[in-house]
């Protein structure tokens, strides 16, 4: 065997009839002259005979089976399929669906429903009381709202006052227009009205600095409302000097900043 160059797998193919006719003939010729290869083929044939014996035994075993009845026997073991293509529940899912656990599951479900309902009504009670009272808010909250309103109204008052004062100051000195034009006079009266409503709030929330300034502005505005063409430019000039001396515009700016910072 070792002397010739025929590979062992070729003999396997030779015995299996897997070679082409030319090669098969060449090997047949070789066999006649090569004893080791003849021995090898004999061994492989013996091996093949054992495999054939196994196949034969398989066939005999097969003949002993009642094939006609087997499909029905297997079909009888098939599980009931609830939905096509899906395997039936097994393991814990099957246990949960089992008849023994059904009362337990029903009790559990009823408990969940009743517990849920109890929690729902318990939590719902405050909202029923709230419906009886159209609005409810704490005193603290209302105080904060009032303070915020006072703050905003004061800011608005200071803004408007500032514009009015600037209007008076910006008019050319000695002009007739500066002497209490109708617009300035109307704005001044409006400011006085606002101040009347603002006072209680400033007192309530102890906004002393803002109150003091607003009082000074009120006095100034009052004087503006008293201006008339007959009074003349000298009176207007006196008011201008008063604004400058008391630094009212600067005070307005400072108080405004302070109020803006203390936003609620």
């Amino acid at each position: 065997m070792s002397a010739c160059k025929i590979r062992r797998d070729e003999w396997i193919g030779f015995l299996g009839g897997e070679l082409d006719a030319e090669r098969e003939e060449a090997l047949r010729v070789h066999l006649e002259t090569c004893r080791p290869c003849r021995d090898e083929v004999a061994r492989l044939r013996a091996l093949s005979a054992e495999a054939d014996a196994l196949a034969k035994e398989t066939q005999e075993a097969m003949d002993s089976v009642d094939w006609a009845a087997l499909p029905a026997r297997i079909a009888a073991r098939l599980p009931v399929r609830t939905r096509p293509g899906l395997r039936p529940a097994t393991g814990w899912r099957a246990a949960l669906n089992g008849p023994r656990l059904r009362p337990v599951l029903a009790g559990l479900l009823a408990g969940i429903v009743l517990g849920g309902a109890a929690v729902f009504f318990a939590l719902r009670r405050p909202s029923v009381r709230a419906l009886a009272e159209p609005y409810f808010a704490s005193g603290e909250f209302l105080d904060r709202v009032e303070l915020e309103m006072a703050r905003r109204q004061t800011l608005d008052y200071l803004d408007r006052s500032r514009y009015l004062i600037l209007d008076v100051l910006d008019e050319p000195s000695g002009s007739e227009a500066a002497a209490a034009g109708p617009l300035a006079s109307q704005e001044a009266r409006d400011l006085m009205t606002r101040k009347k409503y603002l006072d209680p709030q400033l007192d309530k929330f102890r906004m002393a600095k803002a109150k003091d300034l607003c009082d000074q502005i009120e006095l100034l505005v009052f004087e503006l409302t008293q201006l008339s063409p007959e009074v003349g430019a000298a009176e207007v000039e006196r008011i201008r000097i008063l604004v400058r001396d008391r630094q009212i515009l600067m005070k307005i700016r400072l108080v405004k900043k302070e109020l803006e910072r203390s936003e609620v």
């Binding site: 196949a55 499909p71 073991r77």
Partner: protein, 196 residues
């Protein structure tokens, strides 16, 4: 050959229809499929175990598994290959489970304990010993080698069909077959006899 291909295509079409019915839970279709393939599955399982009852168990489990997994079968897929894969996996699982049990039996059959051909003895007795030895050695082959050898010799399957069933190349199948034969030949060498 063409006629055989045509028949195979016809069977495949028929199987596709039957499998569609099995997916819907049709038990008659299931029995038809079982009738068609039960022998082939038995041959495969018997070659694995050489035990009629064990092979029958595998046949039953294979078709029950087919019914469970019917939804996974895609139309047009090689049905026999798919079915044989199920059967083969069941064989392997069962074989592994029973390995301990079989281990004792296999150890009883020792190659060196058997009388070699040269030692003479009654011919029938020697042949019987060789048969037992052959099966013991076959059992000891690597799993894929044994499967290919069994499919080729007991199921009479051509290389192409084995390759399709196992999902490997034809060349690999040939190589595995050659290795199986070589290993059997090597183990049984002194007992196979010669022409001298």
């Amino acid at each position: 050959m063409e006629r055989r291909d045509g028949q195979a295509a016809g069977v495949e079409r028929e199987v596709s229809v039957l499998m569609a019915l099995v997916k819907e839970g049709d038990r008659d279709a299931f029995q038809d499929i079982t009738r068609c393939y039960q022998r082939k599955v038995f041959a495969l399982a018997y070659a694995f175990f050489r035990d009629r009852e064990e092979a029958l168990d595998i046949v039953q489990e294979t078709f029950l598994r087919l019914y469970e997994k019917a939804a996974l079968y895609r139309e047009g897929e090689d049905f026999q290959g798919w079915l044989f894969r199920i059967a083969r996996n069941l064989c392997i699982d069962s074989y592994r489970r029973g390995r301990q049990r079989r281990a004792g039996y296999l150890e009883d059959v020792r190659v060196d304990a058997l009388p070699a051909e040269a030692a003479g003895g009654a011919d029938a007795e020697r042949r019987s010993d060789l048969r037992a030895l052959f099966r013991a050695v076959l059992d000891r082959l690597a799993e894929r080698q044994r499967t290919v050898f069994v499919m080729k010799h007991c199921n009479d399957m051509p290389y192409q069909e084995i390759a399709r069933t196992l999902g490997i190349a034809v060349g690999t199948v040939k190589s595995l077959h050659f290795k199986a034969v070589r290993n059997l030949r090597k183990q049984l060498g002194p007992h196979l006899g010669t022409t001298s």
